[in-house]
Subunit: 548 residues, 2 copies
């Protein structure tokens, strides 16, 4: 260890919250744990990892990166990407995690909008960048990343290959202190219309999110998410909301980590087995792929804890996963919220609960995590009671929310109306503070002063055996404000009309599960229900079709 001497600091007791501090405990707790590259078999100790972070900091500094510059990454989920999670913000630059699944013109838009200075690009994305390179207006240099012996030949100038550059750099870097409110990361969220919007998070926000997530995932002995003996493997892309922030938590705790590269079910199952993975998080689709993967039907998944987010975990999938031994939990949040807002919360006596009770608890959005202030509000901004019935827009305050959208203050003002971040989700909150997401606010049907969840109606209609898929939307109505209308697709050879739907819903109305004004005014049968480019039901198009 080199001899360093204590340096005087003004206002010494001041201690800005910076991402570099997460590495203090990582080395102390890391012990023999490794950070594993599932795609190329590389394995690093925490000591090596820290050296590589320092080498990368030197590489970037030598490439001209200064405080406030932006460094973009186009890579798969690897230990390299984790090094970028640290080294880039730790030198005071902004990490732009580029969504490589966007269309090329959207990738160009986000890279120009974020004003990327230096770009790290994996072999697989070199052809894409070659194609759009001339449209990139701010990029000053490229660093290539490869999983092969030799990187692919890039048809544009590069500063070098990542491993070679690291090998030639000093393994020591004196990371500076700076304002904890400096921006550390940015990435883009896509709506159904318009350009992607950039959200951004500061060092302080990411540190507080990490601390709280660490406590939340550790402190419930009825749920086994993260503990010192855990082995962590993300299955949510690192470009997507920092893989929900868990890589920061796992690193702070010094856990064994496994980065799978690209996601194919066979590889994920193999890594689960060989690396003894105990904790992952993913969207429902990936969980479905794992549970139904043909080669994995005889594999014992007990000991695998999986946090589900991104879209709702259905009771059917939760039940199937539990049957296979996978302990599933729901997490709720969004790109604008860093993301974590709430998780399923099992009580102390969870072992005594029935399978159905387990499923019900694990599929709710759960309890807000510490430091999250959450309310549901009506159309006039009034707080609604927590009785499990009243539905309102979910609004939150917590220390880790995006300040707005990058360079688009008017959209940020909408997000932040009246001092709370508006999630755009409609939910109810139980007396025990458990959140249930009921709808998107743009899809909820406002009829006769009441809010009716389009999802609730769809769920009930879907239980009719002749129906394949249902979409319910609200359309303007002179008397009631809005009224529900249904678009359905039916199974081959079946016929459905509004009377059939009304009769089908009547028992649910009699049972008090739904109000009678929830019966759709019209039922339109179609071949295919319109979907967006990512496969979600496109209610905007459906509304247009039903109104025309």
């Amino acid at each position: 260890m080199p001899v360093k001497t204590i340096k005087p600091t003004a206002d010494a007791y001041q201690y800005p919250l910076l991402i570099k501090q997460l590495l203090l405990s990582s080395q102390r707790y890391g012990g023999d744990n490794e950070i594993v590259g599932g795609n190329n078999g590389k394995r690093y100790s925490y000591a090596e990892f820290y050296q590589r972070v320092q080498r990368l900091a030197n590489v970037l500094t030598e490439a001209g990166v200064k405080e406030g510059d932006t460094v973009a990454v186009l890579d798969w989920d690897t230990p390299r990407y984790l090094e970028c999670f640290f080294a880039i913000p730790m030198i005071g630059a902004v990490l732009h995690t580029v969504n490589v699944r966007l269309a090329p013109e959207q990738i160009v838009y986000t890279m120009n909008h974020a004003e990327d200075d230096i770009v790290l690009v994996h072999d697989d994305f070199v052809p894409l960048l070659a194609q759009v390179k001339d449209q990139l207006t701010t990029v000053k240099g490229y660093i290539q990343v490869t999983d092969q012996e030799q990187a692919v030949e890039a048809p544009f100038e590069v500063l070098g290959e990542y491993e070679q550059l690291l090998a030639g750099a000093l393994a020591e870097f004196d990371f500076p202190d700076f304002d904890e409110n400096a921006v550390a990361t940015t990435f883009y969220t896509t709506g159904t219309t318009g350009n992607p919007k950039g959200v951004f998070f500061t060092h302080r926000q990411l540190v507080l999110h990490t601390m709280t997530l660490a406590a939340t995932t550790s402190m419930n002995d009825s749920m086994q998410m993260l503990q010192a003996s855990s082995v962590y493997m993300p299955i949510t892309p690192m470009f997507h909301v920092h893989a929900w922030g868990v890589p920061y938590v796992a690193t702070m705790m010094g856990l064994k980590q496994v980065y799978p590269g690209r996601y194919d079910p066979a590889t994920l199952v193999k890594l689960y087995l060989t690396e003894k993975v105990t904790f992952s998080h993913c969207v429902p689709t990936i969980l479905q792929m794992i549970v139904s993967n043909e080669g994995a039907q005889n594999i014992d998944f007990s000991g695998w804890n999986v946090l589900i987010g991104g879209s709702a975990l259905t009771e059917g999938l939760a039940s199937a996963a539990l049957d296979r031994g996978i302990q599933v939990y729901t997490g709720y949040g969004m790109s604008e919220t860093c993301p974590l807002l709430s998780t399923s919360w099992l009580p102390i006596n969870a072992n005594d609960l029935s399978h159905d009770e387990q499923v019900a608890l694990r599929t709710k959005a759960g309890k807000p995590v510490p430091f999250v202030d959450m309310q549901i509000i009506d159309a006039n901004g009034r707080f609604l009671p927590h009785n499990g019935e009243d539905m309102g827009e979910v609004v939150v305050r917590t220390p880790w929310l995006t300040q707005g959208y990058l360079k688009e203050p008017e959209k940020g003002a909408e997000l932040w109306e009246n001092g709370w971040l508006h999630t755009g989700d409609v939910g109810s909150i139980d007396a025990d503070y458990t959140l249930q997401i009921r709808d998107r606010i743009k899809d909820v049907i406002k009829t006769g002063g009441e809010w009716v969840s389009s999802l609730d109606i769809e769920n009930l209609i879907s239980q009719h055996p002749d129906i394949e898929l249902t979409a319910v939307v609200g359309l303007p109505d002179d008397e009631w404000g809005e009224r529900p209308h249904a678009m359905i697709s039916v199974r081959p050879g079946k016929d459905i009309n509004r009377d059939v739907i009304a009769s089908h819903l009547q028992p649910f109305i009699d049972a008090g599960q739904i109000e009678k004004w929830a019966i759709p005014d019209t039922v339109t049968v179609v071949e295919d229900i319109p979907r967006t480019s990512v496969g979600k039901i496109d209610k905007k198009v459906i509304r247009q079709m039903l109104q025309s």
Copy 2:
């Protein structure tokens, strides 16, 4: 729930870290857990607790307490005191936790120095205050606290009795947002000389300490400190460094909590049994009292996890506690550091370790917790290597250190020399980052450019069967700077001189356990080794005696 409407907030995304936020999750996670008064049998749900905090806030506000005022508490460890931990800082006032064990004149000094405005006083301390009341220069009012049906008659005017005042107050209070750097708590630390010194902590500091302590105590499945199913009972006075901050953690996590009132071993053991306590923290003396308590020799203590701090946990006591089933761990910190800096850290395979290995790991000061930057420095302020041998003063940086001493900037400047808080402890750090405290810096012997731990020499001398107690101090020496000198008391009928000591130490020198210059120059035999008023060996007096 009353209808409240969202209010606009400037810079909405700003979210100051305030103690009130710890109560957000307490109610959500609290469920059926109770906060129990072990001394009077009262039991509160978390919902009731929050109502009582709000009632107390109204009582204090009506008593004239404003932002920045100081409210002092003289009470035993009770749910009431926990209410004060929250309500007082949450209205923007400063909580002064008065050390009721100080001499009356020192209590007066601290209350005047802290400029206490309102005082909450338990029956048991009414006679004390009656005696010194005329010397209190800033107090504007007293609130009485009792565990009886009827409070004792106070010979001075009081605003009322706590429970009666709470009963008459509204159970609703709109706690304001304010600067997270507002001071929340203050208390006094006593040295061997001079007046007590006031340390103080801000909302931000206490929140960050709480978050980190929550993660630290939860995330190691080889150690069972705090989990959702834990039952917490402090055995460190709440006036002493916020009972190490654990009441804030337990409340944030919504745990069952048991406050024992006064500490007598029989009551503590009874509460352990009846309330099924799983986690406590205390000084070694209390643990010794529990382990050796006559009435408890047949009680199974397995399932009780006890964190030890305040002074060193000896291997003998750790071994005895483990033999009784108590899982002991060491915590290191001080009043100036909020207090937590490090804890014992068991590896993943802890179950495979032998009893002796367990004892060794559990008695070290352990690994610094997340966000603590810790170094050992030599006399020139240079960082020393982490090799388990080099000894230096322990210096720290972390977000929860006192800024200085209340109204004594010159003493704070000494504490904060060169941007690090100087603990005054001498330690070594192992290659795996484990800290061992070796001495106090004022007691370490600087001889011939080397530091020799007086404690190390004492430990070796103490192994001689004829010796009762040993104190080793450094005295000035023209040639070597300082040289060690020993003062000993011997067992009845035994005789010891310098040659005996030198021969006794020789095998340890041969084994490389100690250097030859550690042999004391002189050995002085006395009847009784001088001690301070709290029973610690008084090296200041010993130095004077040996030099005269």
